[in-house]
Symmetry: C2
Subunit: 361 residues, 2 copies
């Protein structure tokens, strides 16, 4: 039987609770398929700070290096909010993980679950039939990492600056990811930039257009980021795959996720070249409801599903997880965050919805 | 009687048609108040390119320099889309105008007109009672203008780069604009940044917090730009004044404007130190309906109103224009873009709604 090594980083807030359910789902996958997931737990985020002095401890990095994939919970909380930005759980864990493991391709699906359209703040007629957008965000370049970056001078003479920079190969590889994903879906890529203002965007647009020629079956369009922020609100269904540089992807993927109304339900994948990847829910650590056993574990479970799909090539098992989640939602199981007091809905806690998903598997 | 000099730059598409109505409204203001608007027309955008060889001709700049304010229509259209970005109507006219005239403070109200809530793609319960957000965007700094910016190298070795940079005085002056505006409204400023990633944002946040101390009656909050893109969708009413650097303001002001569903109704002001300003509709040149006399002139008329308010200190006349527009909407007058086939609505053309607004003045 195949063995995959998984670094399990539950993190803070609801992280550990929802992670527990994802791990039970992995148990169920082991029972059903000829596979073994060898899991090593490690501290990250606030837990890393409290127990080992930093958001991303050395031990954690080493455990990740010895693994085939990282299953990440969520990090952050009021306790650590007064630390300098660099040391805070989110930034201090996520940015180094992305850089160390070369996680250049961030896949963030924004999907309306048909049974949950009521949760979106968009009108019924705008989202009728749901929508399914995949934001593909470049994750290791651009203004997040390029140098120089800093604050110079003293007092009122200070100047703060950052550099947005992209090389051709950086743009090429993320563009391939977008076109390959689009091929398996709606066969459309909308590339986002601000080529009317930014030089990095002029290069971005040109390189994307060049790569597009290798995918004649996929339709390419270009859109300015300000227009994209509008079009997502106006008519999200016009999009299939949205390809963004790092910062634009940060903004638009969050906007798209919130439009679904199912933020707590959305998984994400951050992929390196090869098969290594990190998988995490799109939502946050929700410290307000942590420890109560009521958090929604679906995003974490779907993230585990993405891990099977992208890092382990277990497409069948990944599909089975996605289908189990859909079935459980259709059956009316709802954690508190998605409970709408409609007929047929059953209010359940974290473990109960985990049970239902495992049963549906 | 007072005399104000206005540079009138109708531009392309529907620009000239809607400008004609705004000018008729200025005539009506002259008839009612003791004031004279001395207007000089000039070419800009595609019209500038076609007639004088560039998007912002020298003559136009000189006419603007000799004026107390600029009333701008809208620019752009398919005819000029294949030009290099620098020469295109929008970028080639707007960016130099902002720089030459030091238009550092961009005020973009995003208002739901109570009679038009149906046009928003947000659910009734999210926008019930309307919302009224004022985005204040820094307009002459940041990644739009800072150097270095360019593309270096050859072929696949090329690298494209831009610099996001802010000095303390640049942040201070736009922050004062935001707090002074908030004082006259809901007394809340939400400052947007990405201080967990960008050094320019770390400085931004610190300087904004410092200036806030001078306005103890106004409440300050900070929000990351990705979260702001979500919160606007989730619950726009939580915002009063949103303060942004240039690029974040570009994105969020468009998102906020689209959320209202009344994009074609929203004016904007771009102010220099002192009283000079440029006033223009938030929407585009709508080349598809140009020349048919059916465009909605309200954004242009409200832009003229903002000019009276901010550059000419004519608060009463500005209020009168705002009220006249609200009244005409309440009376059911609708151009095609806002016609919803409801009882009491009267479909009218550009000139007819202009007549109605003038009558209501
Ligand atoms: C925490 C922060 C550094 C991070 C980012 O900006 O990338 C987060 O917003 C995200 O999208 O994963
Ligand atoms: C045309 C473009 C350069 C401009 C900008 O990005 O500022 C436009 O989008 C705007 O918001 O006025």
């Amino acid at each position: 039987s195949q063995v995959f090594k998984v670094a399990v980083l539950p993190g803070d807030g609801i992280g550990p609770e929802v992670m527990a359910e994802a791990l039970r789902v992995l148990d169920a996958v082991e029972a059903k398929y000829d596979v073994k997931f060898e899991r090593t737990h490690a501290n990250v985020g606030g837990a890393g700070i409290d127990l080992e002095g930093k958001a991303l401890p050395e031990t954690t990095v080493n455990i990740c290096k010895a693994s085939d994939a990282i299953l990440f919970g969520s990090v952050g909380g009021p306790k650590w909010e007064t630390l300098p930005p660099d040391e805070q759980p989110e930034r201090g864990a996520l940015l180094p993980l992305r850089k160390i493991f070369g996680l250049y391709a961030n896949l963030r699906p924004a999907i309306i679950f048909p049974s949950l359209t009521g949760a979106s703040s968009l009108k019924e007629e705008v989202i009728a039939g749901g929508f399914n957008v995949l934001v593909i965000r470049e994750l290791t370049g651009g203004i997040y990492f390029a140098q120089p970056k800093g604050i110079d001078g003293e007092g009122r003479d200070r100047v703060g600056y950052d550099t947005m920079r992209y090389s051709v190969p950086e743009i090429e590889r993320i563009t391939h990811v977008a076109f390959q994903a689009a091929r398996k879906r709606g066969k459309k890529v909308c590339s986002i930039d601000k080529a009317n203002v930014l030089s990095s965007s002029v290069l971005w647009r040109e390189v994307v257009a060049g790569i597009a020629k290798e995918y004649p079956d996929v339709e390419l369009s270009h859109m300015y980021v300000d227009n994209a922020a509008m079009q997502l609100v106006r008519w999200p269904k016009q999009f299939d795959v949205i390809l963004c540089e790092n910062m634009f992807g940060d903004i638009l993927s969050d906007e798209a996720a919130m439009l679904t109304g199912s933020l707590g339900m959305l998984p994400s994948a951050s992929l390196a070249e090869g098969t290594f990847g990190m998988y995490e829910p799109s939502g946050g650590s929700a410290p307000d409801i942590a420890g109560q056993g009521i958090a929604n574990p679906i995003a974490q479970i779907l993230s585990a599903g993405m891990m099977l799909r992208f890092s382990f090539g277990m497409v069948d098992a990944a599909d089975a997880i996605d289908n189990a989640v859909a079935k459980v939602l259709d059956q009316g199981f709802r954690t508190r965050d998605i409970f709408q007091q409609k007929d047929g809905e059953k209010l359940v806690n974290t473990k109960e919805i985990g049970d239902a998903i495992i049963a549906a598997l």
